[in-house]
């Protein structure tokens, strides 16, 4: 029954226009970044290698598909949640807005099954969206810019050989699934509380923005809170672009995100299960 419900929920998601906003946004934004970098990307490479040029001589294609994909991932990582929230916020609240809660809940299925199926459908949407991002940002970039070594500017400059990069992207995207599912779970929670999807969209983004600001503010009093902000853990995909990879940090953050997902989902299901349907 759950599989049938998930397929029905997926059918609903992919018949809505708002679902495609995310795909269109990525389909437009990523080529814009790619075109910009096609013309101005050398500047970034020069900036990244300015201190090394005195000692080293660089050969080969540094402005390559891997670098473009890395920069896109870094740049869009804060924007992708908005696209997830658009769908996540609508999962339950959308049924209330359209009045279809009544139709759905008077069917002979448990509310828990409905909650599970909706969340899984949202999870599948999240994965497909990330896959689309991976496809456009990595594979299309490789087609346009070719391959080569990847230069990453973090606390120091890392240079990865071209045959040492792909697995890092795969792990980074695997981590992104956890990060974006956390965002999905957050918006799903807000979606269960109200009867209009706008509120959950605003609330989810507000929580994320506030957490990001708290993380960025150099104020000592906020320091103890930072480890508990899930937004701090969402960016740990970058650990896979270090040498050596700090696996313990990545796994730790991954587990924290997983706990957030489970916790948020359980709270949502509890609320939904007890909710009086008045719409």
């Amino acid at each position: 029954m759950i599989l049938k419900l998930i397929s029905i929920e997926l059918g609903k998601i992919f018949r809505k226009l708002r679902t495609y906003i995310g795909f269109i946004a990525i389909g437009v934004l990523v080529p814009v970044v790619q075109i910009s970098l096609y013309f101005t990307g050398e500047g970034y490479v020069d900036f990244a290698t300015r201190n090394l040029k005195d000692s080293f001589f660089f050969v080969g294609n540094l402005l390559n598909g891997y670098l473009i994909a890395y920069l896109i991932l870094q740049a869009l990582f804060i924007h992708i949640p908005f696209l997830i929230v658009l769908v996540g916020s609508d999962l339950l609240a959308g049924e209330a807005t359209s009045g279809t809660y009544r139709m759905l809940i008077t069917r002979p299925v448990s509310r828990i099954s409905i909650s599970i199926s909706k969340f899984f459908a949202g999870f599948i949407y999240t994965n497909i969206l990330l896959l689309w991002l991976l496809l456009i940002s990595l594979f299309v970039s490789i087609i346009i810019f070719g391959t080569g070594e990847l230069i990453v500017l973090r606390d120091k400059v890392y240079i990865f050989a071209s045959d040492d990069i792909l697995w890092r992207f795969i792990l980074a995207y695997g981590f992104a699934v956890l990060s974006m599912t956390t965002v999905l779970a957050l918006s799903y929670l807000f979606s269960s509380m109200v009867e209009n999807a706008i509120g959950p969209i605003v609330a989810s983004m507000a929580v994320m923005i506030i957490f990001i600001i708290i993380s960025a503010l150099p104020i000592d009093i906020l320091e103890p809170f930072r480890p508990y902000l899930f937004t701090n853990h969402m960016i740990k995909w970058r650990e896979f672009f270090g040498d050596p990879v700090n696996y313990s940090e990545a796994i730790n953050s991954g587990l924290i995100l997983l706990l957030h997902i489970i916790g948020l989902f359980l709270i949502t299901t509890y609320i939904f299960n007890r909710k009086d349907i008045l719409s």
Binding site: I8, M103, T106
Partner: protein, 306 residues
């Protein structure tokens, strides 16, 4: 009448902070009943129906459907129940056919094209099967609502004001459909309405609720066709009419007089006799207006609630 209880409600109460939406409600619906659930707007009808369908949880009391606790056997009960709650809303971006298919699949009903088209035909929507519901009028959505309620061939059909927003022809069609389902298909129908006349035409048993509490309950015949009727006689000479009635046995049935009207509470067959008596005594009777006390009562509570 079958004595198997299909719905049994005891002490049902729903409170929202200081508001008591449903107050200690008892009711029984038997197999084969078309049960009229009557009350003015805001009486607590929809809240009760929402509790019957597990959309909201009662504050206290219990509901048994098909002899089983709704709380414990929810899924089993809903498999045998079809419903419309208030206005039927659908996935607007899906066609009528697709909506029925989606809802039918969740209900575990027969979602073959043949069955879906049969349901659409039953409610007169077969030609619009491929139209998106966003293009439907309220009346069409109401019909589609009935189709989705019947798709999985339920034993019990709960209809919350199914004729609201329909034109007179549409209302008649829905009433005919309900009667067909009851008589030909042996379905039990729980019909909420705020129109007494509608319930009178369809139901065999009824309950009137107001402010969440039961006011009267019984068979439609008992309640709406009692032995005595309140009858108003409109005459040309009220003083003379009053004087000649004083000399008869009908004096005991006299209720009141106002302007050129005399009101009596008479056994059903006596209004014609009294009319004849007035005419034989030289009075002109311009109108004989029978009214039922329950109708008056219902009008009164409806006006009070508006």
């Amino acid at each position: 009448m079958d004595t198997e209880k299909i719905i049994e409600v005891k002490g049902l109460t729903k409170k929202y902070k200081n508001l008591v939406a449903v107050d200690n409600l008892d009711l029984n619906v038997y197999r084969g009943d078309v049960f009229g659930f009557l009350g003015p707007n805001g009486a607590g009808k929809s809240t009760t129906i929402r509790m019957l369908l597990t959309l909201i949880k009662p504050t206290s009391g219990y509901i048994k459907i098909f002899g089983k606790s709704l709380q414990k056997s929810r899924i089993e009960i809903l498999k045998k129940t079809g419903a419309i709650v208030e206005k039927p809303d659908f996935y607007l971006y899906l066609t009528a056919y697709k909506n029925l298919e989606v809802l039918g699949k969740i209900s575990g009903g027969d979602t073959s094209k043949k069955n879906i088209m049969k349901m659409l035909e039953l409610v007169g929507l077969e030609k619009r099967y491929n139209s998106k519901v966003k293009t439907f009028s309220h009346g069409m959505k109401q019909r589609l609502g009935i189709a989705q309620a019947l798709l999985h061939d339920p034993e019990l059909i709960i209809l919350d004001e199914p004729t609201t927003g329909l034109d007179p022809q549409g209302m008649k069609e829905i009433r005919d459909l309900i009667l067909y389902l009851s008589k030909e298909k042996n379905k039990t129908v729980f019909l909420s309405s705020h129109i007494l006349h509608e319930v009178e035409m369809i139901a065999n048993r009824m309950i009137i609720i107001n402010k969440g509490a039961t006011q009267v309950e019984g068979t439609v015949d008992e309640l709406l066709n009692p032995d005595k009727l309140r009858v108003t006689f409109e005459v040309n000479d009220i003083t003379k009419a009053f004087e000649i009635v004083k000399l008869t046995q009908w004096n005991a049935n006299f209720v009141m007089k106002e302007k050129n009207r005399l009101v009596f509470e008479l056994p059903k067959n006596e209004s014609a006799e009294l009319n004849k008596y007035f005419i034989e005594n030289g009075l002109e009777v311009s109108a004989v207006i029978p009214t039922r006390s329950l109708e008056n009562y219902f009008l009164k509570i409806t006006e009070t609630n508006q």
